[in-house]
């Protein structure tokens, strides 16, 4: 089976053309980036503000647990079968583009919201009080104290969302959607396992590449992590991290 997969990947004609690997990869990347940006635009301001005022914590934290319990496959099926436009083509996003985008945004929101809220909430209250005491305006407290200190946790949430979106975008092919998953699904549904495996290899490799790039971006955003001191050693916390 591995031999067939390697042969499929080595055949240049499988990469080019409208249904080829390059075209599907481009479409899946476009979907992923669009959905992640929308989710950040919608989720971040709301969750950061909730964290700042310290309200809605129950909702912000539990939304991730709910998100994990909902099967992505079922949501994709319901979104593409339910509305009239379910499987319509949406510009460069391809068949079932809108249904897929909505599902991706829905599954990207929980980790973004939870981490943004927790990140701001976990900023040492003494530091926040001290900055208020120094005469900082509420706005300055938020932008100059809470936000920079919360950044690592917030960025981790965005990374979790990226992984989630990439996984969901792959599953979209099980329904009707575009993307690299179509190669896996076409291979496995038609008994062409080499092709299916080849698609899986491409999806997995790009998942690791995206995660690696995200980790690099996060490191670049956090200069303080390179400093060789840390005030208190951070205890290892039980974190219910997200599974795609």
């Amino acid at each position: 089976m591995f031999g067939d997969a390697v042969a499929y990947l080595l055949d240049g004609s499988n990469w080019s053309g409208p249904g080829g690997i390059v075209a599907q990869l481009g479409q899946q990347l476009l979907l992923t980036v669009t959905a992640l940006l929308i989710a950040m635009l919608v989720g971040l301001p709301f969750a950061l503000w909730l964290g700042h005022v310290g309200r809605g914590g129950f909702l912000a934290i539990n939304i991730s647990n709910v998100g994990r319990a909902v099967p992505t496959f079922a949501v994709l099926v319901l979104l593409s079968t339910g509305p009239e436009w379910g499987t319509d083509t949406l510009g460069p996003y391809g068949r079932a583009g809108l249904a897929t985008l909505i599902a991706l945004v829905l599954f990207a929101l929980p980790p973004i919201i939870t981490n943004a809220y927790v990140g701001v909430r976990e900023v040492d209250r003494d530091i926040v009080e001290a900055s208020r005491g120094m005469g900082m305006a509420e706005r300055q407290v938020f932008t100059e104290v809470e936000l920079p200190l919360a950044l690592p946790v917030v960025a981790t949430g965005v990374r979790l969302a990226l992984v989630q979106v990439w996984a969901t975008a792959t599953i979209a092919a099980l329904v009707a959607g575009p993307g690299l998953g179509t190669i896996i699904v076409a291979g496995f549904y038609n008994g062409n396992y080499g092709k299916g495996l080849a698609g899986a290899i491409v999806v997995a490799v790009f998942a690791l590449v995206l995660e690696g790039l995200a980790a690099l971006a996060q490191r670049a955003l956090e200069p303080e992590r390179h400093a060789s001191f840390r005030l208190t050693p951070k205890p290892l916390k039980a974190e219910a991290s997200l599974v795609p």
Partner: protein
């Protein structure tokens, strides 16, 4: 559609002419299919979580004892989740074929992300005083682990187990790519034939199943850790 359904209550509301989302007669007529799909779903989920638990606890114990290995174990167990499920199952097929085993192993690997982390956090949370006084009373390494550390780590471990189980129920559906997705097989069939009653029933059962298993584990947690009832 509702008019049709109420005018002829015995006509099957899941026929392709009517194709209702909610259709009680579908549940009645296809009970056998629904039961066998749900049974497969539960079997795969439980097997995967148990396998994950059997792997995660020793891994966490090793990570705790040999700090040099901790980074590697945590890195690999959290790295697995980066690979989408629709790719992981196919990647396992050269070894385990088109079978439920493929799905069980894949899902077990995903549970490691949560279970290893939570077991390790639970073990790290055991106070040093407790550990020292147990050793002072003559406990050896193994007895210390089995009778003191693991029981004290249980609440955090159980919290992880609940999260892992709930997300495994959701992920099992993707197993339909290798024809072993439990309720996911019904979803795949439903979407190919635009069979709304089937899609609705399978989605509903998925959510009910996740809630039911979570409740069962909550009860198990209460029974196993009667001392932590207030804090749970």
């Amino acid at each position: 559609m509702t008019v049709l359904a109420s005018a002829a209550p015995d006509a099957s509301c899941y026929s392709s002419a009517v194709n209702n989302w909610v259709c009680p007669s579908y549940f009645r007529d296809k009970a056998d299919d629904l039961i066998s799909a749900t049974t497969e779903h539960v079997t795969i989920t439980v097997a995967a979580v148990l396998l994950g638990l059997v792997l995660a606890v020793p891994l966490a114990v090793v990570a705790r004892r040999y700090s040099r290995l901790e980074g590697l174990i945590m890195g690999v167990s959290t790295g697995i989740y980066t690979i989408p499920s629709l790719a992981l199952f196919p990647l396992l097929t050269p070894f385990t074929g088109i079978s439920a085993t493929t799905v069980i192993i894949g899902l077990a690997l995903y549970t490691l992300t949560i279970l290893v982390r939570n077991t390790l956090a639970g073990l790290s949370g055991v106070p040093d005083e407790v550990r020292e006084s147990a050793m002072g009373s003559g406990y050896g390494q193994t007895r210390l682990l089995l009778q003191v550390e693991l029981p004290l780590a249980l609440p955090v471990l159980m919290a992880g187990l609940r999260v892992a189980t709930v997300s495994t129920v959701a992920l099992t559906t993707v197993g339909s790519i290798v024809a072993s997705g439990g309720l996911g097989n019904l979803l795949a069939h439903g979407v190919q034939n635009t069979f709304k009653a089937e899609i609705f029933a399978a989605s509903l059962l998925c959510v009910v199943l996740a809630l039911a298993l979570d409740l069962v584990l909550l009860l198990v947690q209460r029974l196993l850790t009667p001392w932590a009832r207030a804090g749970a």
